[in-house]
């Protein structure tokens, strides 16, 4: 521990309660950090690729999650170590930005750390390694742009989009019906996409799941599903050409915000009040009726009396609809959310071709379908599956596929998957290394080796001989000058990823390399870890 003394030999206090803290410095700190980062990467390594395995996670409350999505695994892992938390953050930011490749980015970072450890042992200063990595990542990203291919798609020609989504889905448990799900994801994204602005608002795609049935029954609905039923059991279950009033005010007497008291001291007042109250309900229902609404969707509850009045006037209603769903309904039906009854006008009503209630299974599960909406820009993907974990995992997989499709619409450059892009980068970086005169050269070579880790892990997970396969593919790439050779995970008999239709997005791959490099640089720069010791 650091101790300093003044000229009289008394110790300075540098750290408060120094005895109770553990401290690691210099090379030790770096090595400890690296080993922590590697440990996290090792957990995810087996989940990579189409033959990757899943992880079973048990939450503090005993709920079970089964997944192979990197971001989800790390988020639920109850991580304590600081560096491990950095890796979790890394995966999360990849998830937010790109949505896919969350496993790959962590494995990549782990590989970079492993190489850094070797370089550190040879006495290279961590900052020089970090700089070398930085240079190398720039080379790799530029190289990716060179080998990337623009690919065309349109509203009519979605085949290539579907293929890319299938690549994403093939590593998930849903790979049994990846074709169907990829179709669904692409259709959903195209339905909400703004092709002019090249942007997709994924909030418009709602992913809803219900246990029971089978995965094949998953469907895309051009409309909204709400997990609610009609407020009164005897209201009609099917409304055609619905005009929907979307309300955020309850069917209750108004509650002024200012504090007030109504004092009742005479019988007349009591009776007046009663009549007033009845009139409120009548007026409210009448207003909805007057503007021509045939369905009321309300964010709040109704009073029994209001409920009956609605029923009585043939005005079906849905209550307790959540805020997000309400917004989606408003977008889909082209209606406006109305906060007060007075502001209800016919123009503010939403329109839907068909609203129906559907019941599931043997229990009292009902859901409301709002379909054929005026504005079909909000869609719902409705997932069915054998059990809860399956549904959750399917939701995550669909989310990944949606993100990939969105990224392609934003930027329609692709690189080929199956590790081919990494191998190609690795060759390019290796070749470039010799041009750098300084110590960075070693770091750049280290980076090239780290890039090999991803195809290596892919091969290993697919039950192939990792080193043999990798070296074979690498030599093939150089010999044929063909950057599209990758690992043949599915045993399809060819190494050319163009023939296997394994695509990944260019920005996704670039982001992976950049993010992983950044985090590794950060970890390498730490040379002192001070943490409160527990005991």
């Amino acid at each position: 521990m650091a101790l300093a003394f003044d000229e009289f030999g008394r110790p300075f206090i540098i750290l408060k309660e120094q005895e109770q803290k553990t401290r690691l410095r210099g090379l030790d700190a770096q090595k400890a950090n690296i080993s922590a980062g590697k440990a996290v990467a090792r957990i995810l390594r087996t989940s990579l690729g189409p033959k990757g395995m899943d992880k079973m996670l048990q939450s503090p409350d005993g709920d079970v999650t089964i997944t192979n999505d990197g971001a989800t695994i790390l988020e639920q892992m109850d991580v304590d170590n600081q560096i491990a938390k950095l890796m979790v953050e890394l995966s999360r930011s990849q998830d937010y930005e790109i949505g896919d490749g969350t496993t790959g980015v962590v494995v990549m970072a782990g590989a970079l750390l492993e190489q850094a450890e070797k370089l550190l042992e040879r006495g290279i200063h961590p900052i020089r390694i970090a700089e070398g990595y930085e240079l190398a990542s720039r080379i790799a990203v530029e190289h990716l742009e060179r080998i990337a291919q623009k690919f065309e798609f349109g509203l009519s020609n979605t085949e290539s989009l579907v293929q890319t989504c299938m690549t994403t889905l093939s590593s998930k448990i849903v790979n049994r019906c990846k074709r169907d799900l990829a179709d669904i994801a692409v259709k959903a994204v195209l339905a909400v996409a703004d092709l002019e602005r090249r942007d997709v608002n994924l909030d418009l795609i709602k992913v809803e799941g219900k246990v029971g049935g089978k995965l094949e029954e998953t469907e895309l609905i051009y409309g909204i599903i709400v997990d609610k039923d009609m407020s009164h059991p005897q209201m009609p279950k099917r409304i055609e050409d619905a005009k929907i009033a979307i309300l955020t005010c309850p069917f209750e007497p108004p509650k002024p915000k200012t504090k007030h008291k109504v004092d009742i001291d005479t019988v007349e007042k009591f009776q007046n009040l009663r009549q007033q109250e009845q009139k409120y309900f009548d007026d409210m229902v009448q207003k909805c009726k007057d503007v021509g609404a045939t369905l009321v969707i309300c964010q709040w509850g109704f009073d029994d009396e209001a409920n009956h009045l609605l029923m009585h006037r043939n005005l079906p209603a849905v209550r307790w609809v959540g805020g997000v769903e309400l917004e989606l309904i408003a977008i889909a039906t082209g209606g406006r959310i109305v906060p007060r009854f007075q502001e209800l006008t016919p123009e503010k009503l939403g329109k839907a071709g068909l609203v129906r209630e559907k019941s599931f299974g043997t229990t009292k599960d009902r859901m409301l379908y709002i379909e054929h909406c005026a504005n079909s820009r909000a869609v719902t993907i409705f997932i069915r599956g054998g059990n809860k974990m399956m549904i959750e995992e399917t939701k995550r997989s669909i989310h990944d596929a949606l993100c990939v499709a969105r990224n392609l619409i934003r930027n329609n450059y692709i690189v080929y998957g199956g590790g081919s892009a990494e191998i190609s980068c690795s060759i390019a970086v290796e070749a470039a290394a010799d041009r750098y005169p300084g110590v960075e050269q070693y770091a750049i070579r280290g980076f090239a080796d780290a890039l090999d880790a991803i195809p290596m892990a892919l091969a290993e997970n697919s039950g192939l001989q990792p080193i043999e396969t990798l070296s074979a593919v690498k030599s093939q790439q150089i010999k044929e000058n063909n950057p599209f050779c990758g690992i043949d995970c599915n045993d399809a008999g060819t190494n050319d990823m163009r023939e296997q239709f394994v695509f990944e997005t260019l920005i996704g791959k670039q982001q992976q390399i950049l993010l992983a490099t950044q985090v590794v640089k950060m970890i390498l720069k730490i040379d002192d870890v001070i943490s409160p010791s527990d005991y």
């Binding site: 079970v64 304590d80 059991p233 007497p253 009742i264 001291d265 019988v267 299974g361 229990t363 009292k364």
Partner: protein, 522 residues
């Protein structure tokens, strides 16, 4: 350098083989637990709750057993979950689905031990489920629908406590479901349990029975009743305007207000009476005062009918549930021929007969004890679920292990044709399928090895209809014995069992978070 601890203190992590072992063992333990309840000669389990009073449940319903278990093993939880979903979705086969998944895992374990990669097993499994559906889709049988339903009901019930009177109950269930006219809304079927008598005394009532008493001094028998079904406060009508309060300065004022309140209630009652009704059913309480008013007007008033009761009553009598009474001409009233008080055992119930809409009905269960009744209700529920699903999907297959044998045979043939490692996994699937008839035979105390081999020999012929005849302990013709099952149930069992197995097999690492700290209230 030692690897740093990554996870929190109490969190644990299991990897590779160990993780796989843990999930296999957990899942198989669950499957073995419910295994003995399978089939017509399956045994029951006693469950004692840890709650107050240590309530005891006797059951052989897989979902009920698993729901009550406290399980820590994550893989076991997956199995419990599929059983629950099976219960929600089709209602029956909750035991079979767990047993099948358990057997699949048992076979998978052997394969893993023989150094076959789990992914190979999974990919083989996918190929098989597609095949299975093809095999069973051929069996369409839309004719003789009612008799088929009857057979299905009997098959379902034969494994339950009701097996002694299965014909009686099968008839009850079929009648009840036929009344629903194709809807799967089982809420319309009310089950009332009354201890006393024997199970044979249970009956289906075409009308509707409400487990309530008639108010004192009100007519006990009404013919051609006009019923108003309501959900309204009949105690004191609250003023709903926010912030209203009563402030008075003298006792006389209190009396006045009270009078006004009474007057208000009287008016309300008058309005209700103005509907021209002679029976009034409310979901909420009816206080003495309005009750008295109703009695004066000769109206039968029933209070505190629960929500389901109200909904069913509205469904049965064709009335609407009313909460305001200002325009009597437009409120739809319910009608029935006769309302009377009947006695079942020593309890008085209200019986509505001759109702307009024939959809709902009531099944009154009688039995020696609460446990018997509870189990009877569960069994009947299973039968009702299966029947209502069968009405929607009318495909029917034979029972008694017949479908398993047919599938096993087909799968075996596929295995012979498939080159590569996959064929091992496919064969294993067929073995897992055979395990189900084996367990049924074992549970019945029969020589399973002998029976299954006989059965397999039978099935080698084309168009065989043989299955296990548990009663005589031999191979029998399932068509003659009239043992049928619903296609939908079997399909759901297969799908969820394979899905669950696939999930568990894909896992190579289990990370358990530290249990949430709980305040110890003991």
């Amino acid at each position: 350098m030692a690897v740093e601890r990554i996870l929190k203190d109490e969190a644990s992590e299991e990897k590779g083989e160990r993780a796989r072992m843990a999930s296999f063992v957990g899942a198989m333990a669950i499957a073995d637990l419910v295994k003995t309840t399978l089939g017509p000669k399956g045994m029951d389990k006693i469950l004692q709750s840890t709650g107050r009073g240590h309530q005891v449940t006797v059951t052989n319903d897989g979902a009920t057993i698993l729901k009550s278990l406290h399980i820590d093993n994550p893989a076991a939880k997956v199995l419990v979950d599929i059983s629950k979903v099976q219960d929600d979705e089709v209602g029956d086969g909750t035991t079979s689905v767990v047993v099948l998944a358990g057997e699949l895992l048992r076979e998978a374990e052997k394969l893993v031990a023989a150094k076959i990669h789990p992914m190979t097993i999974i990919s083989a499994e996918c190929a098989r489920s597609a095949l299975l559906q093809k095999v069973m889709d051929n069996k369409e049988d839309a004719e003789k629908f009612t008799s088929d339903l009857m057979k299905i009901a009997m098959t379902t019930l034969s494994s339950k406590i009701l097996s002694q009177d299965k014909e009686h109950f099968a008839k009850l269930a079929v009648d009840a479901v036929m009344r629903l006219k194709g809807s799967t809304n089982l809420e319309a079927i009310q089950i009332i349990k009354k201890p006393g008598g024997s199970l044979k005394d249970s009956f289906l009532d075409e009308g509707f029975i409400l487990d309530k008493k008639i108010g004192i001094g009100q007519p006990k028998r009404i013919e051609n009743a006009k019923i108003l079904v309501a959900n309204t406060a009949m105690d004191t009508d609250k003023v709903k305007i926010y912030g209203a309060r009563v402030r008075v300065d003298s006792m006389s004022r209190v009396a006045e207000i009270e009078g006004a309140e009474k007057e208000k209630m009287r008016e309300k009652v008058q309005k209700i009476i103005a509907h021209g009704i002679n029976c009034f059913v409310n979901r909420q309480l009816i206080y003495n005062f309005p009750e008295e008013l109703f009695a004066d007007a000769g109206i039968l008033a029933i209070e505190h009918a629960d929500f389901d009761g109200i909904e069913r009553l509205a469904l049965v009598t064709g009335g609407e549930i009313a909460s305001t009474f200002d325009n009597p001409e437009s409120v739809k009233l319910g009608h029935c021929k006769l309302i009377e008080e009947i006695m079942i055992g020593k309890d008085k119930l209200i019986h509505f007969s001759g109702v307009e809409m024939g959809q709902a009905c009531t099944i009154v269960l009688r039995g020696a004890s609460h446990h018997v009744l509870d189990e009877a209700e569960r069994s009947l529920h299973d039968a009702l679920c299966v029947l209502s699903q069968t009405i929607n999907d009318s495909r029917v297959i034979l029972g008694g292990g017949w479908p398993e044998m047919v599938m096993a045979k087909e799968v075996d043939e596929l295995a012979h044709k498939t080159p590569g490692k996959k064929s091992h996994a496919i064969e294993a699937f067929s073995r897992a399928l055979l395990a189900i008839p084996t367990i049924i035979a074992d549970n019945a105390g029969l020589d399973s090895a002998e029976l299954i081999s006989q059965l397999r020999a039978e099935h080698h012929k084309e168009g065989c209809t043989a299955g296990i005849d548990v009663i005589f302990g031999s191979v029998g013709d399932m068509v003659e014995l009239g043992i049928s099952e619903s296609f939908k149930v079997k399909q759901a069992i297969l799908l969820s069992a394979t899905e669950a197995t696939e999930m568990i097999l894909r896992v190579d690492e289990i990370i358990t978070c530290a249990p949430r700290k709980r305040e110890d209230r003991m």
